[in-house]
Structure formats: C-alpha cells, structure tokens
C-alpha cells in the first residue's frame, strides 16, 4: 500500500552503463525491502495498539525472566541439564493447558482437568502394572478414560445446563476421591514399562533430534509458503514474502539453537552415564501443538468453537450444533488432560493420589491465560499454552535454584498470573475503545 516511492523509482531506471544499472537495481531492491519492513512493523504496531497483543506480553515476560535468572544463577540456570529438566517439569502442565484452551475458548472452565489427568494415570497404573495389559492398549485405555470423563462433563454443561464451574468443581472433588480409593492413602502405583517411563524421562538419539528440527522448519516454511502462493494465484492479499522469510528464519534459529543445546552432553558425570539429545516429551508436545492447532484453525469444527465462544446465539442461528461443540470441546480437553496426567506420572515413575492435584490445574489455567488465551472465550491458541507454560515453569525452576521456599514460588507465580490477566483485561478494554473488542 505505501510503496509509491519504490514503485515510482522502479519505472525509470536510468539508461546507463551496465554497472550503474546493476547497482541501481540493488539499491532499489534494498529500498523496497526497507519500505516493506517498515510496513510490516507498522502493521504489527497498529495491531498491538488496537489491543490485539497475542502472546507478546508472555514472550517479553519469558525473555525478562530468563535474563534475570541467568544473571542471578549463571551456572545452574543456563546449564543444558537444567534446560532439559525445565522441559520435563513443564510438559505435564503445558499439555493439560493445551486441552484447557478448547474449553476456555468457549468461555467455560474445567477445574477438574488436573485430576482427570491423575485419574487417567491411575487407570494406566492399574491396567498396565497391576493387570499386565499390553502398553499400547493400556495407553489407549488411559486416553479413553479422559475422553469419557470429558463427555460426561460436557453433557452436564451443555445438555443439563449446569455452569461448568460447578460441574467441574464437583468432578475435581470426586476424582480426588476416586484416586484415593484406587491407589490408597499414601500409596503409589509404580510404572515399570520402559516406553511409559521414557515418555517424560528419556531423550531421543541425536540424529532423530536433528531430523525433527529439519522437519519442523521445512514443514512450517513449506506450509506457509504454499498458502502464500495459493492466495497470490487467486489474486488475494497475502503475507509479504519478506515477512515469511523473517518468521521462518526466526523459527529456524530458535529450533536449531534448542536442538543444538540439547544435543550437547549434559550429564554431571559424563563418564558414568552420558545424557544428551532432545527429550522425548518434546516430540509429544510438538505433535499435540500441530494436531490441535490444525483442528482449531483449519477445520469447520475449530471454526465453530471460536464462533460459539464469540457469540453462541449467532452460532446457533448459523445452524451450528452448539451443544455438540461444547461437549466435544470438553472431550478433547479431558483427553489431552489424560495425556498430560500420564506425562506427570511418567516423570515420577509412578502415580500417587496427588498426581494432577495440588497446584497442577491452577498452573495449567494460568499457563493458558498468561499465554494470551482469554477467560471470556472466543480468543486463544494452542501455542498460548506452550508459551504460558514455559513462563510458569521458568518461575518455578528459577526460584527453586535460588533456594526459595515453595511459598515464595507460589506468591511470585500468583503475581505473574494477575499481571497476565490484567494484560488481557486491559487489552480488551483497549480493543473495545478502538472498536476491536
């Protein structure tokens, strides 16, 4: 839109010796790139000013937190070992938060997501360890336990009409009871299956990590590039190629840096036991992000979730089966929570009545909200859960390294959450005042 200067100059390239012409073209290209960059930046600033901040505050917060802890604890915080630990520690909450995004998008809440994960992990312990079922069947059973729980919650909310807060509060209490009954007070059920233990403890071979990095970068780059091409062919406004290059480049830099860092030896005693490679759990997270994001953004079901969250009555009048959308969101949320619960238990090699309890749910909701998902519904993405989950994990991890007691960690996390919620509320107000709601 605002490249009149560039366009004007492109027309009359001076007829001169070859060298001048070539140099002119380079200068012209540079100038155009600069204008394009300025336009991209301006469009972005415009969006943020309008209240559409997305994950920006969380990313900035993450950078600040990492910088602070790196300064205070340069040795331990930035070590590769700690970095890998951070991923393992945050995985369970992060995954539960991804599922919660679906429920939050509707403007509903699932207070039982954490203990749902715990129940699923208990189920896994019962069938795998105690009954000796095959591992694949056991994992499927755990997953379907989550799906079934979600279906029940969804029916109570969408068909019976009980507020989700009440339904899931009841479920939160009830499921804690279920776990106490199944596992017994103070008891645990250990996992002995290699695959389940490796889920959130082991690391993958180096080559697999690098392959994954390549697939991720190429996959993102190609998918977005194809979209741009298709839109150009149809004569539609599309993302500037420069912006595409910047985004793909940024992703490549982050992915390569992370994989590179994780591929280094991180064992405190490398002679005794070598630890290197990308943690397996990162693959689980990546797959969930890709699949769930695709469902939300590319399918009619995902579109309808946003519609129901934005204006349920409008969705109904558009012929959308609102009750089914609600129920299915709870089913997805609880199924994903089941995966999160298994990851939590895998981390500790066993499931106890506390798995998925305590602060798990609050952290998960906090992660989604800190990442930019709105509690009012209609706004949020799966990646919000990842970014917000990282923020929470960094706080807990960094404070732990500083030998702060749990009490202080909770207080700081609380402050971060209030801050994030304030950003959400303020950006909504801002959006309303600029007419962007």
């Amino acid at each position: 839109m605002s490249t009149p200067t560039a366009r004007a100059t492109r027309g009359h390239a001076p007829e001169g010796p070859k060298g001048t012409k070539w140099r002119f073209r380079v200068a012209d290209r540079l100038r155009r790139t600069r204008t394009e960059l300025r336009d991209i930046l301006r469009a972005y600033v415009e969006r943020v000013r309008g209240g559409d901040v997305g994950s920006l505050p969380a990313i900035l917060g993450l950078i600040v937190l990492v910088a602070v802890f790196s300064a205070l604890e340069p040795e331990s915080f930035t070590s590769a070992l700690n970095f890998a630990n951070l991923i393992g520690q945050s995985a369970g909450v992060m995954v539960i938060a991804m599922g919660l995004v679906f429920v939050l998008l509707l403007g509903e809440i699932d207070l039982s997501a954490g203990v749902t994960g715990g129940v699923a992990a208990s189920m896994l312990g019962v069938v795998l360890t105690e009954q000796g079922w095959p591992v694949a069947l056991s994992l499927l059973t755990a997953l379907l336990t989550g799906t079934f729980i979600g279906a029940c919650l969804g029916v109570f909310v969408a068909k019976v009409g009980i507020p989700s807060f009440v339904v899931t509060l009841a479920a939160f209490l009830g499921f804690q009871g279920v776990m106490l009954q199944v596992i017994g007070e103070g008891g645990t059920i250990g996992y002995r299956d290699e695959f389940v233990l490796k889920l959130n403890n082991g690391a993958m071979p180096l080559w697999l990590g690098w392959t994954l990095a390549g697939v991720t970068i190429a996959g993102y780059g190609l998918a977005t590039l194809l979209t741009i091409r298709r839109r150009r062919r149809e004569g539609l406004v599309s993302q500037p190629l420069l912006l595409w290059a910047l985004k793909t480049g940024a992703l490549a830099a982050v992915v390569l840096a992370v994989v590179g860092y994780l591929s280094a030896e991180r064992s405190p005693f490398p002679d005794l036991k070598s630890i290197k490679g990308v943690p397996n759990v990162l693959l689980v997270i990546l797959l969930l992000v890709v699949v769930l994001s695709y469902l939300l953004t590319r399918t009619s079901w995902g579109r309808h979730i946003y519609a129901v969250g934005g204006n349920a009555e409008a969705a109904r009048r558009a012929g959308i089966n609102v009750a089914w959308i609600r129920i299915s969101c709870f089913m997805v949320s609880s199924s994903v929570a089941a995966i999160g619960g298994v990851l939590l238990a895998s981390r500790t090699n066993s499931v106890s009545p506390q798995t998925g309890g305590n602060e798990t749910l609050l952290y998960a909701v906090g992660a989604a909200v800190i990442g930019g998902t709105s509690l009012f519904g209609g706004k949020g993405r799966v990646t919000d859960a990842v970014i917000g989950g990282l923020v929470i994990a960094v706080v807990a991890n960094g404070m732990g390294l500083l030998n702060q007691p749990a009490g202080v960690v909770f207080m700081v996390t609380g402050v971060v959450l209030v801050f994030a919620a304030a950003v959400d509320a303020l950006s909504r107000r801002r959006a309303a005042s600029t007419g962007r709601a």
Binding site: Y306, G310, A314, I320, A431
Partner: protein, 272 residues
C-alpha cells in the same frame, strides 16, 4: 396442494406465493406473542412487514427461519407444507435472514462470518481462498467500497459495515427469499439508499423479499405489499397502492383503519 385462499392473499389471485403462513401461533411461557398470523411472500415482490415495537415481527421471522418453532399453524413453501425445525431447514429451502441484532461473531473476520455454519471445502480442510474470493465478489456486488480487507475482524467494523456484512451473508447463497429485519436502523442516509436499492434489486431478480422497517418512507419507497402486525395479529396484508400512509399508521397504532368498517381493536372507533 393448494394454499387455502384467504382475503389477505386475495390481491394476487393468479400467482402462488413462495412462502405462506397460515394461523401461526407462538408463545413464550404465558406471553402469547403470535396469535394466528397469516403471511404471504411472493417471488419478485418486496413485502414490508410493519408494526409497533413488540408487535412480534422479529418473532415471526425467527419462526420462519427455524430459530423458534411455531407452536401451531401451517407453513407452506412453494405450495407444499413443510416443517422447519432449525436454521438448516430454512437455509435448505432457500430462506436467508438478516437479523435485527445481525448475529455476527465479533471475534471472527468478515469471511468467517459470511460462511459461518456453511464453510466451503472439506470439513477437515477448509477452502479459505475460495471463500475469501466469493466473499469479496459478493461485497463488491453490493458496492461496498468502504471495507478495507475481508480479513478484518467484525468487531473493528462500523455499524454500517457490520450491517453490510450481515446482508452480504444473506445474499451470498442462491436463495429464494431474503428477510431483512430493520436493515437500515444503523445506517446513514447514503447507505440506507444503497440498502433500499439492493432490496429492490433482489426483488427484481425474482427473489421474495421481506423488509421489516419502522420507517414508512422506506416502506412506501420500495414495497409492493405491506403486512401490518398488531399485537400478534396480522391485521392487514395489502397492496401498497391500495393504502395511504395514514391508513398504515392507523393500522400500526390501532390495528384497524376507519375505512375497514371494523371496530378498531383498542376501542375508540367513534368517527366511522
């Protein structure tokens, strides 16, 4: 089967109405909102539906659209009795509605709103480019130049632009009947003119159009038929040329005209 002729539809004895309602009732709990309403909508004609606030106009068209199911009464489409139990049923018949509250999702963009519930492409891989192209074409067809991008979220649009998006959504499909519930309420002078011209154009294209409006100037400008709803009763559906503005005002406010010879529904019928 043939629709029973009533005096209300006697104005067009020859051609069959696209849509006919006969003796339609609807109540919300104890509140009887529609009490035996008849309505005919004909192809190529603009039927204005007028009536005071709370007369039941919106309720009537929501029943037609399948948002509410009528408690009793007959619903004929192209002469056939039909059952409309949901918005999809009405859409399948070719009925599109622009609701009074527009029924847009603020958090979705223009294209997403226009195709909501009827997205193009496979359900698991939506065809965004085709949808965007068709949305663009439709909006251009409405000569909406003010809209910067069809990918802006509806929340950031002005009242008039939102109204236009809602109208565009209704004319996007190959529909037979378009119902507009106070489509000009939020519009300025120029845009009102534009919408009225569009209403006329749709009818001239052979669609049946229902226009709900409180503005009698508009009604007399574009309508062929005028249907007057008074406290849940359809007190008249007449040719525009057969009535004066004063008659319509009286029908709206008292449910009868002095020419009718019938007693006005709220008493005071002295000067007959």
């Amino acid at each position: 089967m043939s629709v029973p002729a009533t005096e209300l539809s006697a104005t067009h004895p020859s051609d069959q109405p696209l849509l006919s309602l006969r003796g339609v009732h609807k109540s919300f709990g104890a509140v009887q909102v529609l009490q035996g309403v008849d309505l005919d909508v004909r192809a190529g004609q603009v039927t204005a539906l007028v009536g005071d606030n709370g007369a039941g106009k919106s309720t009537l068209i929501k029943g037609v659209a399948g948002i509410h199911v009528f408690d009793s009464g007959d619903y004929f489409f192209e002469g056939e009795p039909v059952k409309v139990h949901g918005p999809k049923d009405a859409n399948a018949l070719g009925i599109e509605v622009v609701y009074q509250d527009l029924a847009l999702c603020d958090n979705l963009d223009v294209v997403q709103n226009m195709f909501l519930g009827r997205e193009m492409g496979p359900r698991v891989r939506l065809d965004e480019t085709t949808m965007e192209t068709r949305a663009r074409e439709t909006l251009d067809g409405l000569s909406v130049r003010t809209l910067q991008s069809v990918r802006t979220r509806v929340a950031s649009l002005s009242g008039g632009q939102r109204q236009t998006v809602a109208i565009a959504r209704a004319v996007l499909w190959n529909s037979k009947i378009v119902i507009l519930d106070e489509p000009t309420a939020a519009l300025g002078v120029a845009q009102t003119e534009q919408v009225l011209r569009l209403v006329r154009r749709l009818a001239d294209r052979g669609l049946g159009v229902v226009l709900i409006s409180h503005n009698l100037n508009e009604v007399f400008q574009v309508a062929d038929d005028i249907a007057v709803l008074y406290l849940g009763h359809m007190v008249a559906q007449v040719r525009k040329d057969d009535v004066t503005r004063a008659d319509v005002v009286e029908l709206i406010t008292s449910g009868a005209t002095q020419r009718d010879g019938a007693a006005p529904m709220n008493g005071n019928g002295v000067a007959r």
